[in-house]
């Protein structure tokens, strides 16, 4: 496994930091979609526009293939990992995807961005593989039997708010408590590990949307295109997935809700 981190890999990401949800990927993401673009290919990221990439791939340019492979495989691997039970299986799904991509290059017609097409192949490959493995969300898993459904209902336990219709109804009864400072390296690492695990356990559509938007920095429009969903639906899935992950962190941190409830009620 290549142990790189987004935002750290030289040449992979233009700029790191910035607002949550915007990880500098947008620069090369946007560039990748820009079919007829001419501007600033040099300083916006490693990949030129789709037409140029495709032309070089069709010409057998191995360096270009390696670049595309190295740029997209981490995101593909993450997405695959949610469908299958092991890293090795995810590896095979990504491999099968790229083999299908190579075979399909001659037929690619720019009906979508190249990357969107590649990711769609991954999703189809992973689904087939995942159902063969008969992997299901464990019935005793994180979200089973809880108030969270895939796309309807409240994202925060209604029991945390004052009930009824009167004044104060809907106000926090059990407000969130402080989390440990994010500045400590150990906390930051634990947070990421916890989130990475919880992400694989989200319901499928939430997981895909959250992984693409927040982990890989795709735009809302791209996610709608790859999944064939409306902007509103995309936003609902994103919100529900994020809220579920926040709850996971809350339950994990020692000063979280579970620890405080005994005292504060």
């Amino acid at each position: 496994m290549l142990g790189i981190e987004f935002g750290r890999a030289p040449g992979l990401v233009g700029r790191s930091g910035g607002r949550a949800g915007a990880h500098g990927h947008e620069e090369w993401n946007d560039l990748g979609d820009e079919i007829a673009g001419e501007a600033a290919a040099g300083d916006c990221g490693p990949l030129p526009n789709d037409e140029a990439v495709l032309a070089r791939l069709k010409a057998g340019d191995e360096a270009m293939f390696a670049l595309v492979l190295d740029t997209w495989s981490p995101g593909l691997h993450r997405l695959a990992r949610g469908y299958v039970s092991t890293d090795a299986s995810a590896d095979e799904v990504v491999q099968d995807t790229w083999v299908a991509v190579i075979r399909g290059l001659d037929g690619f017609e720019f009906r979508s961005a190249l990357r969107t097409w590649v990711y769609r192949i991954l999703v189809n490959t992973a689904k087939t593989r995942g159902s063969r493995e008969a992997r299901t969300i464990p019935s005793g898993g994180l979200f089973a039997g809880e108030f969270l459904s895939e796309d309807a209902g409240p994202t925060v336990d209604p029991g945390r708010f004052q009930p009824g219709e009167g004044p104060g109804a809907g106000s926090w009864l059990h407000p969130p408590t402080a989390w440990p400072s994010p500045e400590g390296a150990a906390i930051a690492r634990e947070t990421r590990q916890r989130i990475a695990q919880a992400l694989t356990e989200l319901p499928e559509r939430q997981r895909i949307v959250v992984a693409l938007r927040d982990a890989d920095g795709w735009s809302a429009e791209e996610v709608c295109e790859i999944m064939g969903i409306s902007a509103g639906n995309q936003r609902v899935l994103l919100h529900r997935g994020r809220a579920a992950l926040r709850t996971q962190l809350e339950d994990y941190f020692p000063s979280g809700r579970a620890a405080s409830e005994g005292v504060s009620a």
């Binding site: 496994m1 290549l2 142990g3 981190e5 987004f6 935002g7 890999a9 949550a20 949800g21 990880h23 057998g60 191995e62 293939f65 390696a66 492979l69 190295d70 495989s73 981490p74 691997h77 993450r78 590896d91 990504v94 491999q95 790229w98 083999v99 190579i102 075979r103 994202t155 925060v156 209604p158 708010f161 109804a169 809907g170 106000s171 926090w172 407000p175 969130p176 408590t177 989390w179 994010p182 930051a188 947070t191 990421r192 590990q193 989130i195 990475a196 992400l199 959250v210 927040d214 982990a215 920095g217 809302a220 936003r235 994103l238 919100h239 994020r242 809220a243 992950l245 926040r246 962190l249």
Partner: protein, 79 residues
């Protein structure tokens, strides 16, 4: 216009972050947030969750798979 409750605000956060709230809704959102520690903290934790997602450890394909795929590309082009 009726003020937002905390329970309503928590469901609007992604729309707020995406810039998808209308001006009136956005004003209600800001007004509630300014006077509510619980919601302010909830929003901060929501952002922190998103931020952590943007810095997940990245795993990719194994070196062996990568080599195999480079071979496959070479073979495809030489066909």
């Amino acid at each position: 216009m009726k003020a937002l409750t905390c329970q309503e605000l928590v469901e609007l956060i992604t729309r707020h972050l995406e810039g998808a709230l209308g001006p009136a809704e956005e004003a209600r959102f800001a007004e509630h947030l300014a006077g509510c520690r619980g919601c302010d903290r909830y929003l901060a934790q929501f952002r922190r969750t998103i931020d952590a997602l943007g810095h997940l450890p990245v795993e990719s394909i194994s070196a062996g798979t990568r080599d195999h795929l480079l071979d496959a590309f070479r073979t495809w082009h030489a066909r």
